[in-house]
């Protein structure tokens, strides 16, 4: 853990709700039996921004979303969403939020249009205007051709888009997206990212949970990392990556006996202790641009033969290893 890591446990500095924020969470805790799902969580999401809540399965992401969407009551703490108290004004709050879940919550036996019309009517709209809004959303989400087909004939990506559309029926100012792309193929994932980006550009505030750093990176203005029910780090995606040591350079050596020489040559570029095994040298690099060229030049000068050299961005694993000392996949219990 680097010295500049800012932890969320800031003592008394954030004790009262922030009225200017679209989402403000203070001291939320929730246990299920012996399992402490959330421990004293504080968060603020500014209006019109996206907060990525990043963490492995079982970290508490979904629990937090369920609490903020009025589906679950916390054991302690307070929260305000869209200017409404989550605990005492749940009924009012439900008019102002949209929820799209990990498991596409649409009726498989209804058509896309029937699903959206039903949701609109349950928000209190008359049938005709609920239907009109449904048609508008189907157009926006590129589902017009499938509008009158039962959802069970949809692909995974189409279902997620419809689920997202259902969350937008009442044009809510605050959206909760719980792992919107988990389980989707890469193409559908990119499509869905485009859709979410459009929504955000139209001014919605979004709390997005994800297990993928690249997703948080692409969509979120700020990222909060959650592990074992605690927010362990918070910042912009770049800040977070700097904290975990920036990019990783991997050098495959022609001759594994040259590892020592390679490390010596690359040490000036290192942000942390290099690691080596079986002719593969891994280092966390300090700067952003020109890394590969500099590394190749240094290795060439030192007479080290290189088989392959790659630069990769830190993954969720790197974030977790750096912040918590354990890998993200170790736990699996949500």
């Amino acid at each position: 853990m680097g010295p500049e890591v800012e932890t969320a446990a800031r003592g008394g500095s954030r004790t009262s709700l922030n009225d200017d924020a679209a989402i403000s969470v203070r001291g939320i805790s929730k246990s299920f039996g012996d399992v402490r799902a959330l421990i004293n969580v504080d968060l603020d999401v500014a209006r019109g921004t996206v907060l990525g809540l990043l963490g492995p399965n079982g970290a508490g992401k979904t629990t937090l979303v369920r609490i903020l969407a009025t589906l679950l009551r916390p054991d302690s703490g307070s929260a305000q969403v869209a200017g409404v108290n989550v605990l005492s004004e749940a009924a009012t709050l439900r008019q102002r939020i949209g929820l799209a879940g990990q498991y596409a919550a649409v009726d498989e036996n209804l058509t896309g249009l029937e699903n959206l019309t039903m949701v609109g009517r349950l928000y209190g709209s008359p049938r005709a205007s609920a239907k009109a809004r449904g048609q508008e959303l189907l157009e926006q989400f590129d589902l017009v051709d499938a509008a009158n087909r039962p959802v069970k004939t949809y692909s995974g990506g189409m279902r997620r888009r419809l689920d997202l559309a259902a969350a937008l029926v009442a044009k809510p100012p605050v959206l909760f997206l719980d792992e919107p792309t988990t389980g989707l193929d890469p193409r559908s994932r990119l499509d869905l990212w485009d859709v979410i980006e459009t929504l955000v550009s139209e001014g919605a505030t979004v709390l997005l949970t994800t297990q993928y750093l690249d997703e948080a990176d692409r969509l979120a203005d700020r990222v909060a990392v959650i592990d074992h029910g605690r927010v362990i780090a918070e910042g912009t995606s770049d800040e977070l990556k700097d904290r975990v040591g920036g990019e990783r350079l991997e050098v495959h050596l022609e001759d594994s006996s040259q590892a020592e020489a390679a490390i010596r040559a690359l040490t000036p570029m290192c942000a942390e202790e290099p690691a080596t095994s079986d002719g593969l040298v891994r280092i966390g690099v300090r700067q952003r641009g020109g890394t590969i060229i500099e590394a190749v030049r240094r290795l060439d000068e030192a007479g080290v033969g290189v088989d392959d050299i790659t630069l990769r961005r830190p993954t969720l694993d790197d974030v977790f290893l750096s912040l918590t000392g354990h890998a993200a996949e170790e736990e699996d219990s949500e």
């Binding site: 369920r66 969407a69 009025t70 589906l71 679950l72 009551r73 009924a91 439900r94 008019q95 939020i97 949209g98 929820l99 879940g101 990990q102 498991y103 596409a104 919550a105 649409v106 009726d107 498989e108 036996n109 209804l110 029937e114 039903m118 949701v119 009517r121 349950l122 928000y123 209190g124 039962p150 259902a166």
Partner: protein, 254 residues
């Protein structure tokens, strides 16, 4: 209250629209009752002696009540599925009346039960059943059967929310309701049962409702009173509707 009614109607409509698109459920409503009628009339019927009238006349009211009590299965399975798939979460995040999801489910059962009962009665008329009473009696009988089915939909709503999987809902429901329907006067006269079973059958609400329906449709005298049958309907709803609503709130997380 107006919200409850309109939201309930929306959910009812949803449950009815999806029905023809799930053919396996539709089979349960249409083919299964016909099979039961034929089974009892032609396979077992010859061996069963009933007081006065034919076995077809004895059987149809019994099988209507049994079938309609099981109609609530759709509610148990449907609610369980909605829970698994996250639809209940969607509903709970909407500004809709809290009880509408359950009320809409059970109300949809009234329509499916009506369909099922129509098929049963028509089948019955073909195999020798006939109404022996006035139109008013027949209609009161239809209302009683539908009301009893509606009450059992709340029992099944509670069961469906109680268990974790649709398979469990299926077996728990079957184990709980099947003996109730058979240890009654639905298929054989209660007097023909061994003493302990007969004593159970005589206080079983199924027996009371079947006896009343038999009286309303065929004029066969009943040892019970019509008000007792309707009292059971009200009692079952008053017990199981609040239980189901409480369970719904808890299951979905408070």
């Amino acid at each position: 209250m107006r919200r409850l009614v309109s939201d309930t109607l929306v959910v009812t409509e949803r449950n009815l629209i999806r029905l023809p698109r799930a053919p396996e459920l539709l089979l349960a409503f249409t083919i299964q009752p016909i099979m039961f009628v034929l089974l009892f009339r032609y396979v077992f019927g010859g061996a069963i002696r009933v007081p006065g009238g034919s076995y077809a006349e004895f059987l149809i009211p019994g099988i209507v009540v049994q079938n309609i009590a099981f109609g609530g299965f759709v509610t148990a399975l449907g609610l369980n599925e909605d829970m698994q798939k996250g639809l209940i979460d969607r509903f709970r995040s909407l500004p809709m009346a809290r009880a509408a999801v359950l009320a809409g489910r059970t109300s949809a059962d009234i329509f499916t039960n009506g369909l099922s009962m129509t098929i049963l009665v028509v089948t019955g008329l073909i195999i020798g059943f006939s109404f022996q009473t006035s139109a008013v009696h027949v209609i009161v009988g239809l209302v009683l059967a539908l009301a009893f089915g509606y009450a059992f939909s709340w029992v099944f709503a509670f069961l469906g929310l109680l268990v974790k999987t649709p398979e469990a809902a299926n077996s728990v429901g079957f184990i709980a309701v099947f003996p109730l329907t058979f240890i009654s006067s639905a298929f054989v006269p209660a007097q023909s049962l061994p003493t302990p079973l007969r004593q159970f059958a005589e206080v079983n609400p199924f027996t009371i409702v079947v006896n009343e329906l038999r009286w309303l449709w065929t004029g066969q005298p009943s040892p019970d009173h019509l008000w007792q049958a309707f009292a059971w309907v009200v009692f079952i709803i008053l017990v199981f509707a609040p239980l189901a609503v409480a369970r719904y709130r808890r299951t979905a997380g408070g």
